[in-house]
């Protein structure tokens, strides 16, 4: 292992490879060593030169090609990652060719490699001895020789830095599935990268799986024990015990091994004792063969957890421990398990003491942000970072923008977001580039935040432009499309849509014609919705097009359909993964998601082989202390996942409600009552639908039916709110509004989060929730019922309802119009006139006489 990693050519006994010239081998080995050294010292120019000498000696060796590719890339300032991707993929292809060629030539040679072994009489000191046999086994080693894990890892690294998480995942997943044979360093890199990828893709269960594996395979056993604070003492005794019992182990953090060692040596004794009492010599002797070896239990026990000696060379034990702890916090923050995250972040701060704690501080800031402690979050952000670094300050400003948005200070947040963006753009101008620069460019994420902020400020056009830009990374998110649809609706509402004939739909226009006894009032029907359908271009907005989106109702409809489609896709896999994954994984996901729905204890079934081998170990972990510790950790993670899946499911439900309501609305606006009706009906069929959306569903469905000339059926939809005669109930309460706004349903109060409690809606928060108040909704129902009765000729009833409506929504021009209409039909001219004159939204225009002016 060591030998491979250092590629040390110093071993004298390694030169016997048959079929290869001795001299060439030693020269190439020396060159390779020099190249590796200069690479490590980041002297890439020098390294490229050495590799150039090596290249002719190892024609077409994919490993050489690989190293050349990455070194040249780094030498050239990381300017063209796509080209490197092409080069690396070619290397991978080359590997495959070689492996195929080799596999075919293999059969003939098999069996020839027995013999001439080197017996290095190994003692305890032999751990550093390299056992290079001189056997001519090159052909049988092809799995090692053609190991593509490093090149695959590098491909994934590039995708990761380019924010292409789905692509990175598709490369990493197969590596992870078969991670055991991959050497330590590479395996650790793979796991860490994979963890970052799945966290970035908000895939909680996969994150948990990788995190589990990392802790098990690389992590100090102590990481998990932090979960129960009181184990710390016991843990340290474990450590001491282990240190004495396993002298050969280089690591302090070998706790799990020590557990096993203790377990093993303790348990060995009874058997041997009982056997030694046994008269049957043969049994004693046979069962006792390995006894002398027991003294070397270090070898046996450390087998269970993979040794970290090699890993430690690139990352120290404590650093790794901190790293894993930080990942754990990120996982908990992702799953919004705020309470546990708080504890774990404290733990991380402890580990980070005396080291770089900036990351821990940032996560703590995020935690406080998630808990709604915005002041504290700001304080932590300011303490955590140096603002000289453009990348850091860009993130800092972005996060400050988020906080101020949540505080309702939209203009402050706008300032911060634009600062964040400008820092991003300076970042890309910095020379020389390095690979990290690409991933540090978060301008698209920040742009998305900007979009939200502009939407909140009522600027739909520019908001839509932001969302359009952000769609390059977020196009798989249903929410993005919902937001775009909202931009369209807001633009229409504000009369920003080209060709829209309604400058302000709340206005009633009355033409005053003539004077004196001849004065006539002509009520203009400005609320009538026409001219919208054909006023807008059809498919003149495409993704990737440079032009800005043409906001329109048809575009809104298209966006809503996109979102619904995405949502249904993610529904079927039950996980709110932002990324698409390859088919086999999706299968696993759906299994896992479905069956883990009602299980808190069970390990994620079928996530993949890692989880299942893990569960093998976990199933019988019931009895003793050590096991319960592991179980607790497991439980926390499992609870977090199911809690998070719950959140996601609920959030998807909410999005679906919003989508269908918007769709019904848009279809009504586009004068498609049939489609509107079906959207409204689907909305009403959703399980767990908010009362607000039930109200909307009924109102939209009733209107659609009304437009379809089915007033009776329409009345059925509205009359569920009627109680006794003409009395309309409140369709929803204030608590429904608050619940919707905070997305926290009442029935999950017992779940392990303090977030719900921390997020009491402040008055300014509520401003953002621009919707009818419950009383206004009631007025709406009165008004619409009045319409229904009016067109069915029940004028007296309509009159009563309209009067009620006007008392609740006196400012509604629709209700006023309906009331005037009813008065007119009833012949109450004077009442109609007085209503018209008392309406606050009416505008009297003196009649123009175009005949005289222009003819």
């Amino acid at each position: 292992m060591d030998s491979r990693d250092s590629s040390s050519p110093s071993a004298p006994n390694r030169d016997g490879t048959a079929g290869e010239d001795e001299g060439v081998l030693s020269v190439t080995s020396a060159l390779a060593k020099d190249a590796a050294l200069s690479f490590q010292c980041r002297k890439f120019g020098e390294c490229v030169n050495i590799l150039a000498q090596l290249k002719p000696k190892k024609e077409d060796d994919p490993k050489v090609l690989h190293n050349v590719a990455i070194t040249e890339f780094l030498r050239d300032g990381c300017s063209d990652p796509k080209r490197l991707l092409v080069a690396l993929n070619n290397v991978k292809k080359r590997y495959e060719e070689l492996a195929r060629a080799c596999a075919s030539g293999e059969q003939a040679e098999s069996g020839s490699n027995v013999g001439n072994k080197v017996t290095s009489d190994s003692t305890e000191s032999s751990s550093t001895t390299h056992l290079f046999s001189a056997s001519n086994s090159a052909s049988t080693m092809y799995t090692d020789e053609f190991d593509t894990s490093v090149v695959s890892l590098n491909i994934a690294v590039i995708w990761f830095h380019l924010h292409e998480y789905a692509k990175a995942l598709s490369v990493l997943e197969p590596l992870y599935q078969n991670i055991e044979p991959i050497d330590e360093t590479t395996a650790l890199h793979i796991c860490l990268l994979l963890l970052d990828v799945v966290l970035a893709s908000c895939d909680a269960s996969k994150s948990a799986d990788v995190l589990n594996y990392l802790e098990k395979a690389f992590g100090p056993g102590t990481v998990s024990q932090g979960d129960n604070g009181n184990i710390l003492v016991q843990q340290s005794t474990n450590l001491i015990g282990k240190l004495s019992s396993v002298p050969s182990s280089s690591l302090v953090s070998d706790a799990s091994a020590s557990d096993l060692a203790a377990n093993g040596s303790a348990s060995e004794n009874p058997l041997s004792r009982s056997l030694s009492e046994d008269p049957l010599d043969e049994i004693i002797s046979s069962l006792d063969i390995g006894r002398q070896n027991l003294s070397r239990s270090a070898g046996l026990t450390s087998a269970n957890d993979l040794p970290r000696t090699t890993v430690d060379r690139f990352i120290s034990g404590v650093d790794l421990k901190l790293k894993l702890q930080l990942y754990k916090v990120r996982f908990l923050l992702l799953t919004r398990n705020v309470k546990i995250a708080k504890r774990e972040v404290k733990h991380a701060m402890n580990i980070a003491r005396g080291r770089d704690s900036s990351m821990a501080l940032l996560l703590k800031a995020q935690l406080e942000y998630a808990r709604g402690n915005h002041k504290k979050a700001i304080k932590l952000l300011m303490a955590s970072s140096n603002r000289t670094d453009a990348a850091m300050s860009s993130m800092l400003y972005n996060n400050l923008g988020c906080i101020h948005y949540q505080l309702g200070k939209y203009h402050m947040s706008a300032v911060f977001f634009s600062k964040a963006l400008s820092n991003c753009s300076t970042l890309l101008k910095e020379k020389p580039l390095n690979l990290l620069t690409f991933s540090q460019d978060k301008s698209l994420q920040i742009t998305y935040n900007c979009g939200l902020q502009y939407l909140a400020c009522g600027k739909p056009t520019i908001a839509a432009r932001c969302f359009q830009k952000a769609s390059f990374i977020f196009y798989k998110r249903p929410l993005l499309w919902l937001r775009l649809a909202e931009c369209c609706l807001m633009a229409v509402e504000k009369g920003l849509v080209k060709g829209s004939q309604i400058p302000n739909r709340l206005e009633l226009r009355v033409n005053v014609i003539g004077k004196g006894r001849w004065r006539k009032l002509l009520i203009e029907d400005v609320i009538s919705r026409n001219g919208l359908v054909d006023s807008v271009g059809k498919d003149d907005w495409g993704l990737g097009g440079g032009g800005q989106p043409m906001l329109s109702l048809p575009l809104a409809r298209q966006c809503l359909y996109n979102a619904l489609h995405l949502l249904n896709c993610s529904d079927s896999s039950h996980l709110d993964s932002v990324l698409p994954s390859n088919s086999s994984l999706e299968e696993n996901e759906s299994n896992g998601g479905a069956s883990s729905k009602n299980s808190n204890h069970k390990n994620l079934p079928g996530i993949d082989s890692k989880a299942s081998t893990l569960s093998v170990g976990l199933v019988n972990m019931n009895g003793d202390l050590k096991e319960s510790k592991g179980g607790t950790n497991q439980e926390i993670i499992q609870n977090s996942i199911s809690y998070y899946e719950d959140i996601c499911r609920r959030e998807n439900q909410m999005i679906k409600q919003a989508l269908l309501a918007n769709l019904a609305y848009v279809e009504l606006e586009l004068e498609n009552p049939l489609k509107a009706l079906s959207a409204a009906r689907s909305l009403l069929e959703l399980p767990g639908c908010s009362r607000i959306f039930i109200f909307l569903g009924h109102v939209y469905a009733a209107e659609a039916l009304c437009l379809l000339n089915k007033p009776k059926e329409a009345a059925e939809y509205l009359s569920i709110y009627l109680s006794g005669g003409n009395n309309v109930e409140l369709p929803f309460g204030q608590e429904d509004c608050e619940q919707w706004r905070t997305k926290k349903p009442v029935d999950c109060e017992e779940s392990n989060t303090g977030a719900a409690a921390a997020k009491n809606p402040s008055p300014e928060d509520l401003q953002e929730f621009m919707f009818l108040r419950p009383e206004e909704a009631r007025g709406t129902l009165y008004a619409n019922l009045a319409v229904l009765y009016a067109i069915q000729g029940e004028l007296d009833r309509a009159h009563q309802l309209a009067t009620q409506a006007l008392s609740l929504v006196p400012n509604s021009s629709e209700a006023t119009m309906t009331a005037i209409y009813i008065d007119l039909v009833l012949g109450n001219m004077q009442e109609a006139l007085s209503k018209l004159k008392h309406c606050s939204h009416v505008r009297f225009l003196s009649a123009s006489l175009p005949t005289n002016k222009s003819s």
Binding site: S3, K63, V64, P181, S274, I283, L489, K515, L521, F769
Partner: protein
Amino acid sequence: MGKKMLNLEEQCKILNLLKSSSEQKSIEETVTDFFTNSKLRHFNVCYSLSLLLQDKMMLSSTERLVAFAILHRSYSSQKSAANPFISFLVNAACDDGAEKYERAFILQLLSSSNSNSSKEFLKQSASDYIKNFDPSSQNFPQREQLQKQYYEKVHPEPYSCLLQNTAVKNLLADPDVPCGCDANSAELDSQPGAKSKLGSGDRDEALSGLIANLSLEGLIPHWIRPVPPRFPVDEELVWLNPDNSHELQWDQGMCADTSRGAAVRDLIAKALKGALAPNQQEQVLVELANDPKLVYHCGLTPRKLPELVENNPLIAVEVLTKLINSPEIAEYFTVLVNMDMSLHSMEVVNRLTTAVELPKEFVRMYITNCISSCENIKDKYMQNRLVRLVCVFLQSLIRNRIIDVKDLFIEVQAFCIEFSRIREAAGLFRLLKTLE
């Protein structure tokens, strides 16, 4: 803002028409003049006129007659039932509040479409018609009779929205007159040159204003269509954290020695055939311990496991312990459970139980296999040996709490009773009793 019903030309036409009604031209002539321009939209024109006619004050008596004539004449080439204004005309003819001459005029219009009936009455001017009208000469039929006569059969309603169908006229009279004044008083008409009085107004101005602004759409009841609320922003804002710096990795395997583990592989191959010498065994164990990944390269497969177990149980334990995280470990366990029961396999399992966490199911299956092997063995001597072995094995498992006795109590107890003649079985039985 709304759709205007009339274009400029039509507006002028109508105004001229109305003006000319007071002249001494025959009605026939006036109407014919009106229709000389074919570009007129008949329906729009007629609808405007009908709206004006509904207001009894707006048009003078002569203007009204001409307007009615137009309404009728526009559609006179078709059957009367096809006239969209037929019900309006019939209603006007039956309106008891209207002037008799007007009603008579309409009745004459209606009957004039019957082929050869007289159109003489149209040859005079409107004012002459009124002047010469003799109320006694005309009888007024009932509404039902007229409806029967002119509606013929009911037309199916053309599709249109209920809301639209129920529209009412969106025109309200709002006389702006001082309190107590009669809005209908002609005094309030502004006189040319005279100083305008409060409440006075010019009819012509109002008329042209109306004609200019009339719209096709009437007033309809309005549905309130609430705009759906915006989706709340909660966790949606993207919070940014610095990424971990994943760097490109150098491939250390370049030009490196590729013969890793060859010695071990050779030794494992030997170990499948027979017991290794102690120093060879030692070498395998040390090398496996030094390189945890070596176990994946040592050439062992699940199929070969039984040979290794039989020949070198200790190495088998070591290898299996290292493979515990391998995806293939389940296969190895399956092979182990299914191989013939032997001292060595039992030893391997025993050691494994203390070294790693074995799946409960595996241990239970293995024990069941042990017990049934004991029962099935024919050779008494071999059976004795095996039973003693199993007993020691089980005692070890129980003492080390590897298995929960409760899970296997009945099975193990039956086993003890069956072989109670053997000392170790009796011992195991006693152990079971103490645990009860």
